[in-house]
Assembly symmetry: C2
Homo-oligomer: 689 residues x 2
């Protein structure tokens, strides 16, 4: 085992070293334009304000949860178990939150350095600008994967108990819930308010510095899309490893456990290679550059792990197959997502065409294609789970579910590369705004636009990928829950679970309620954005009415940007807490009413409807966004036409779908799964049925 710890830490060290190199490379790039430097500084300050306040609330939350964990988990301290276990669990939980927070913070720091520099790079062409944007994102990717592998390996090395890793994973999840949902509310509050007051009411451009919400909008791109997405994938990655390790240990550890670490480490290595080789080619197509580095990473991972399977004793080709299937299906799902959201493909164009009949048709066609787009991903997850299961089932009892867990590990192996591509998007999105505010000229803005459009396309792909990865992960978390519940049932001398039968009314009861939760959760987040945007719009109106000369753009008159940032921040935290609590409390209610069987059903319902809604919302949001861009490029009447107005309505509907609710559902599912696993002892001890 020791050599796999060594391999893991070696790859982590490599990743950190490479990230530091990239950091200094980015900082070395020129930043000469005064306006851009000033605005960059404002964005940085705003992002820091949000992060500081968010982490403060989180710290209180984490302390409360840590105390509860210490008192209750893995078993209540008054029940006579080992208090050391409870302390370990609480420490692992805290470690999960802290490492995720550090990774998020790093991403923000780099992104706020990179966006201005990418804007200036765009003055010299697409190649230098692309490289700044991509490498800025890559730092986040390396940090997230490095910290997650480091954390999981360190926790297992120190405590030598795989169920403690569930505590670490829960820490990562609860942070992700705040970062993703809170950041998502923040970013869409600002975006929607800026659009409503600026573009719609005043008719000023998107990034006009007169608009008090414009800096908050840019801050939002960073805190929602960079830090939030990083925390989300940190969470998924840790959860995939954690559930694979829990299952591996229940199979006796050994090569099973070693493969988890080996694959995760080699995935990180493959991502480093992919990141290092990413360049825009001669044709200057940034989308191609991003996609081809994903393929490089995939190929490198498959070769490296095949080598490891040849080399190390006890490594099985069946498990390699499961991981490979997971990864390939992930890539295929990404490509089908692309089909539904790329504006060179028919779907986006159909929605743009429907917009000519008015906004209702933009919405109806977008909703319809969003629903259809969920099918290939659902089938992909279903098929990969089925293949992984049957590949590994002949290895012995319990190996089938291990195969599914390894498919999730395989799918998430290239997550370092995925995050790099994903974080590239908001960085170049900000660059576009900065290029406009800094007056860098038409040609630079055009280049920045091209980079931005590539970011949008790739983002849809990575979103499909990360939702699917979460899907596979939670299947294995269901397995992890069953093994945790059985430990508790065995200790209580009760009958063990052999599965969850849907004809059992307790399971069915759980399924129905579990399925409703993601819908309610998303609704609460969307309504949260809505409420918060109303507050911010009122503040913007106040500023326009009371700050003399602001509306007219009198030189030297500046809006109070920080007021808007403040509203977005406090509102985001206020709106997110009820949604998070709703998900957790409904889990507890179902568990204490129906016990472990009801929870099994609850998790299934939650996974299934959560996947469906997350795919639907993310894809239809991306579809609307790109339809609007397609119309703005001069199609179906172009800017200012009726089709454009309708497309803007679609985009506004899609904003909280794709950036707030859709991607937060992932985290909601993971949080609920981990709460269930951690509480299994209590559900066994105390339940009505």
């Amino acid at each position: 085992m020791d050599k796999f710890y060594a391999l893991s830490f070696l790859c982590v060290a490599l990743a950190f070293a490479f990230a530091i190199y990239l950091y200094f490379w980015v900082k070395k790039q020129p930043m000469e334009n005064k306006t851009i430097a000033d605005v960059s500084a404002l964005i940085k300050a705003g992002a820091n304000t949000f992060m500081r306040r968010e982490y403060k609330v989180l710290a209180i939350f984490a302390c409360v949860v840590a105390i509860l964990i210490f008192l209750l988990l893995p078993s209540p301290i008054w029940s006579g178990g080992s208090i050391a276990d409870n302390i370990s669990m609480a420490i692992a939980y805290i470690a999960g939150t802290v490492l995720s927070a550090i990774a998020g913070k790093m991403g923000i720091v780099v992104a706020t350095h990179a966006n201005g520099r990418a804007a200036e790079g765009a003055q010299h062409g697409i190649k230098p600008a692309f490289l700044v944007g991509f490498r800025g994102g890559a730092i986040m990717g390396l940090a997230v994967v490095g910290f997650s592998l480091f954390g999981v390996a360190a926790v297992l090395l120190i405590f030598d108990d795989s169920s403690i890793i569930l505590g670490f994973s829960f820490g990562a999840s609860s942070l992700a819930l705040f970062a993703k949902a809170g950041g998502g509310i923040f970013t869409k509050t600002a975006d929607v308010s800026a659009d409503l007051t600026g573009k719609v009411e005043l008719g000023i451009p998107e990034d006009d510095p007169r608009n008090p919400a414009v800096i908050a909008d840019n801050v939002g791109d960073n805190v929602g899309d960079v830090a939030g997405m990083g925390a989300d994938l940190f969470d998924s990655n840790v959860a995939a490893m954690a559930s694979a390790l829990v299952i591996a240990e229940s199979l006796g550890g050994g090569a099973n456990t070693q493969m988890v670490f080996c694959y995760a480490a080699l995935g990180l290595l493959a991502s480093i290679i992919g990141i290092a080789t990413a360049r825009v080619g001669k044709d200057g197509n940034p989308t191609k550059a991003l996609n081809s580095s994903t393929y490089v990473t995939t190929a490198v991972f498959l070769i490296l792990t095949a080598g490891a399977t040849l080399l190390f004793e006890g490594f099985s080709w069946r498990v390699w197959g499961a991981a490979a299937v997971g990864l390939l299906v992930g890539v295929i799902i990404g490509l089908t997502t692309d089909y539904f959201t790329d504006d060179t493909k028919p779907i986006v164009q159909k929605v743009a065409h429907a917009s000519k009949s008015g906004p209702a048709f933009t919405v109806l066609s977008g909703v319809s294609y969003g629903f259809i787009s969920a099918l290939p991903a659902m089938v992909g997850i279903a098929v990969s789970a089925l293949i992984a299961y049957y590949l590994c089932a002949p290895m012995g009892d319990g190996y089938a579910i291990y195969g599914i867990a390894m498919a999730a590990v395989g799918m998430l192996s290239i997550v370092g590369m995925i995050i790099s591509n994903d974080a590239y998007g908001p960085i170049v999105d900000n660059s576009r705004g900065l290029a406009e505010m800094g007056g860098l000229g038409e040609e630079t803005i055009r280049i920045a636009d091209e980079l931005d459009s590539a970011g949008n396309t790739v983002k849809a792909v990575t979103k499909g990928f990360s939702i699917s990865a979460a899907g596979l992960t939670v299947i294995s978390l269901l397995g992890a829950f069953m093994s945790e519940a059985n430990v508790a049932l065995a200790a209580a001398g009760k009958e063990l679970l052999t599965g969850f039968d849907i004809m059992d009314p307790l399971v069915f009861f759980g399924v129905l309620i579990g399925a409703a939760i993601p819908a309610v959760f998303s609704a609460m987040l969307i309504l949260g954005v809505d409420k918060n945007a109303q507050r911010m719009v009122a503040e913007i109106h106040r500023q326009f009415n009371t700050i003399l000369g602001l509306r007219e753009g009198k030189p030297g008159v500046k809006p109070e940007y920080d007021k808007c940032i403040d509203i977005a921040t406090s509102g985001a935290l206020k709106e997110l807490i009820p949604a998070g609590l709703m998900a957790i409390i409904s889990t507890l209610v179902v568990g204490f009413i129906g016990g472990p069987k009801a929870i099994g059903g609850f998790l299934l319902g939650n996974i299934v409807s959560g996947l469906l809604l997350a795919l639907f919302m993310s894809n239809s949001g991306g579809l609307w966004d790109n339809s609007k861009k397609y119309v703005e490029a001069g199609n179906e009447g172009g800017k200012g036409s009726e089709a454009h107005k309708a497309a803007v309505v679609g985009d506004t509907v899609g904003d909280p779908f794709k950036d707030t609710a859709g991607p937060s559902i992932n985290t909601q599912i993971t949080v609920v799964s981990l709460v269930s696993s951690l509480m299994s002892t209590l559900f066994v001890a105390v339940s009505i049925f």
Copy 2:
């Protein structure tokens, strides 16, 4: 048993007699206005055209399916089973389609008689108009329930084999799929096209006779909302009885079977009493009148069945409790639906208020509350299934699932009353249009508006009710599928199913794919409306451009109404078939890949996501419709304001949600469940895994 057959046929006879009385009563009402009589005749002719063409397509479809059934079911004729069984099954299937078609046709005939008479009644006040509308609807209610009970009793009496009833039920389902989805596409095609060209482009009122789509729109109310809804509830009612009977027979029949018939018959009797006593009270509130007759029916049913339980040997109070729980939960779900869709309650008003910020906010808030509105119904179904299960479990092995089936029978017992309330809606909706076209004056239109608004409110309630009833029914269909599959497994000498374990990858595979189907199905229907509306809009433009004097409203110039009816008809049938085939073929694919276990999962996924989406779509559609009405009543700026424009967009999005996709999902679920049960032998014989 004989006395329960007698009781059933007696109640059926009573229902038919009462329906005939009401028919003559309606026909006796005055119809003096020439314009109204003319337009009524046009509507009637249009509805008949649609029904004739629909039934023609259906007849071909039914013949093909009947031949397939004869060849394959219950077991392939070449497999050496009894050919008589195959003939019986095919006959039962045909009977199911024919009885459902007759009930639908009757509803249409009466509705087209009643709408003009209700408009004229409105000249004399709310009481006479209400009575015409309600009694017109009641004829449909009595016919549907009468024919369904008659059919089920006759099939069992003749063939003495409960699994043949599944064939009858499948006949009802396949007709319902056509009637509901086809009618839904028809009605929304016409509605949307009429609105787009009339209200939006020309600025003429909703029911202006210059608009070529206006008659198609009125026809749509009849074929979609009256005939479609009737077929839908015919289907649910038959399916509930069929699954209860299959389970009852597997428990040895006797009192178990008797209770199914007794409860269904007494439910019909209670509906007759409820219908006979319905009157608008002194306060002239039609909503109250509709609701209070529902409560009367509920109370009468509970008392009658309690009496039967005292009286008859072998009747169990536990089963009575299950039925009562089902019914009460149905009523409660109806009331919570009302909370989300009634314009005197806060939710509708909040959505109207959000419309002030533009259509995107109308859509976002409507989607959010629609999602939230699914929770109470899902919890209600979950809780009633759980209670019914535990009430009946002590009666012995297999009684638990019988309890759930009886909860569905209980919930659907008052379906006669529910249909009466529901069919009242489209009748008075048409009356309003006729009052406008006939120039009956402001006050009459105001009264017609009030009746219409009550129809909208009650419709939301009955929709929530019917979706929930379908939910409970399909749970028991899952039980019916398992018992059918076990018969096939036993015959093939394979291991019997004891349930469907979600940790089994085949089950899980089925769950994921099954969950995606309702989303794809709804998307196909919505896109179908969209495509069809584009065709009709083109035709309307052609007429305005080529028929001289039409646009200006020159006296004597009439549009070619029948062209629009023709487009709506052929388009509806064309768009519906791929959606229906998709649902059936995906069931076959999953079954032949994964066998009965995968189908069990498939049905679960289908039920759960289908319920969620059906509730979401129906409720958000109702919510938007009433928000628009609320704004039009002078709130948030009133007619012509920005809020009104936004509310109209919401209403247009909601139209295919609530009248095409949402309520068709019910039928899709039932069709898929019945296909699975019928095909179980083949799935057992031929599957990859």
